[in-house]
């Protein structure tokens, strides 16, 4: 966990309101694990005041990538930064997905909805290098919401795309597509990141089939490193339910730990 006040933007791509930034930050790259995130300072001016959390999308040598969608002021200002400017970032933060040798030769499924695809690229990099066979479900509202399709394909990762409007791949929710294909794929483990409603369904489905599953949760974060108590969600620990800091003990939790909220604002 370090602060890099000068992470140079060395690459930038965009597809409509999705952006991929490549940042040179050897300190953070050397420590990063899949599912961890960074906190990015958007502006030297106090609006937006707080940093914004972004999953580490990939790492390669000295560089990490972040992949994000414009959803408000912070991401909009961030999207305007250019190659050659630098960002003040903290990371790597939090605890990531379970990975490692035990997944060798296993089939692993990861499900990403919208911008929730972000951490799954790093995860699949890592799992592939452990010898796992990774299948990615990638869902979006429409064809344009699947900008990373080619990137996964280039790496030879098997992709299952869905769009709500049927403009590409399976027509419908990615969770339904996942359900339909599950039997065939028979994964040893499932990872998911995306809208809470999507993750909830993946949790139900994997529970019914008794497949281990991990989820990357989101929350409004004040600090990202455990100091503000702002990011809590209710998590089961040793049979007790506790308000738990997502930034420190998460953002990734196993299905058994998560208590899904009834209604999300």
């Amino acid at each position: 966990m370090i602060k890099d006040p000068q992470a140079l933007i060395v690459g930038k791509k965009n597809w409509e309101d999705y952006y991929l930034f490549s940042l040179e930050s050897s300190g953070i790259a050397s420590q990063a694990l899949p599912g961890q995130f960074i906190m990015v300072r958007i502006s030297a001016q106090p609006q937006p005041l707080l940093r914004r959390p972004f999953s580490i999308h990939s790492k390669e040598k000295k560089n990490i990538e972040i992949f994000f969608q414009i959803t408000g002021l912070g991401t909009s200002l961030l999207s305007q930064k250019r190659i050659g400017e630098s960002l003040d970032i903290l990371g790597p933060l939090g605890k990531g997905f379970v990975t490692g040798e035990s997944f060798q030769d296993k089939v692993i499924v990861a499900v990403g909805g919208g911008r929730g695809i972000a951490p799954l690229y790093f995860l699949s990099q890592e799992l592939c290098s452990s010898g796992a066979s990774v299948k990615i479900f990638y869902g979006g509202k429409s064809h344009k919401d699947l900008p990373l399709k080619e990137k996964f394909e280039k790496d030879g990762i098997e992709l299952f795309c869905s769009t709500d409007d049927g403009s590409f791949g399976y027509k419908g929710f990615v969770s339904d597509f996942f359900k339909a294909e599950l039997e065939k794929l028979n994964p040893s483990c499932v990872f998911a990141c995306g809208p809470e409603e999507m993750m909830k369904k993946i949790a139900q489905i994997t529970q019914e089939k008794n497949i281990p599953a991990e989820f990357s949760l989101e929350s409004v974060m004040g600090c990202g490193f455990g100091a503000c108590w702002g990011c809590v969600k209710k998590i089961k620990k040793n049979f007790k339910e506790e308000w738990t800091k997502i930034c420190e003990e998460g953002p990734v939790f196993s299905r058994e730990e998560i208590i899904w909220t009834e209604e999300e604002k």
Partner: protein, 303 residues
């Protein structure tokens, strides 16, 4: 070499820069980023006698230049703090101040009594001003009478200096400050957060689960600076300024106005190095101006 130390009477600080309660965790969260030994000190997260869960999320919302929080004082309770956390903190050579909370005057007293037994605490900061725990932001610091009664009870129980943390949500902060002084507090810290609210026009609901929260951050600095100015001219005890400090310049505004030290809050989230940077900036300012002892600029405002 500039002497940055300040003497609060009951305690001498290396420098006037403290970290504010609730924005600095238990201190240890910042050790990856800064050398805690460099600080004047830090105030740990508010502590009730028993562990507490805090409020329902969402607990945070940003506003222009500010942050509203309704964390609601979750914490490990005084027992676990003493057993697990305090031993870690003792390793640092800096003033450790414990922010003391209570649902009743008696609870404040019991927290202090339990902590009296532990080494390594420099002072207690009485949090009688958190707007996120009771309905409508009620807290003792809104009334001179309530302030007097809790402060005088705690002073009786305490073997250590007591700093009383005031609320800005009052008509006349001088009146409250005088009550706290009369009740024997050793110092005042100004201020806790401003009672605030935010609304989501899409869902038509308050954004915070708690409806109300407390505003902090750069937005509040001009309000707090005014309060510090009003209070320092009426009390004899030291005043610590808290509100919207994120640079050496901000800290200097408070010191010149008359605060003997400052606490840095929300800015710790934005940049965990803020406190240490402020200390550097104070040094630079003093060197540039040929000031040997930072204490000599305290209260030098020319009105």
């Amino acid at each position: 070499m500039t002497d940055l130390s300040v003497d609060l009477g009951f305690i001498k600080l290396k420098n006037p820069v403290l970290a504010a309660s609730g924005t600095f965790g238990y201190g240890l969260e910042f050790s990856p980023f800064i050398d805690l030994n460099k600080l004047g000190g830090f105030v740990v997260k508010g502590l009730y006698f028993s562990p507490r869960p805090g409020n329902l999320p969402p607990r945070l919302v940003e506003t222009p230049g500010g942050l509203i929080n309704a964390i609601g004082l979750p914490g490990v309770g005084v027992e676990r703090f003493s057993e697990e956390i305090l031993p870690e903190l003792r390793k640092y050579n800096t003033a450790i101040i414990v922010n003391v909370c209570g649902e009743s005057n008696e609870e404040y007293a019991s927290v202090v009594e339990r902590l009296n037994k532990e080494e390594g605490i420099s002072a207690y900061e009485l949090n009688i001003s958190c707007p996120n725990v009771k309905k409508d932001g009620l807290c003792p610091a809104l009334s001179p009478k309530d302030t007097f009664s809790v402060v005088s009870l705690v002073k009786k129980s305490s073997s250590r200096p007591v700093i009383t943390k005031l609320s800005p949500n009052v008509t006349d902060i001088v009146e409250i400050a005088l009550s706290a002084q009369e009740a024997g507090t050793d110092a005042l810290s100004l201020v806790n957060t401003f009672l605030a609210m935010a609304v989501d026009i899409e869902t038509k609901k308050p954004i915070l689960a708690n409806t109300f929260g407390g505003l902090s951050g750069p937005a509040i600095k001009p309000l707090v600076l005014r309060m510090v100015y009003q209070v320092v001219s009426h009390v004899k005890i030291p005043v610590i300024g808290i509100g919207g400090i994120s640079s050496g310049k901000d800290a200097l505004e408070y010191l010149i106005t008359g605060a003997k030290a400052v606490e840095v809050g929300t800015a710790n989230f934005i940049d965990p190095e803020t406190t240490v940077k402020i200390i550097e900036e104070l040094k630079t300012y003093c060197q540039k101006k040929g000031i040997d002892k930072i204490e000599t600029i305290i209260g030098t405002l020319k009105v």
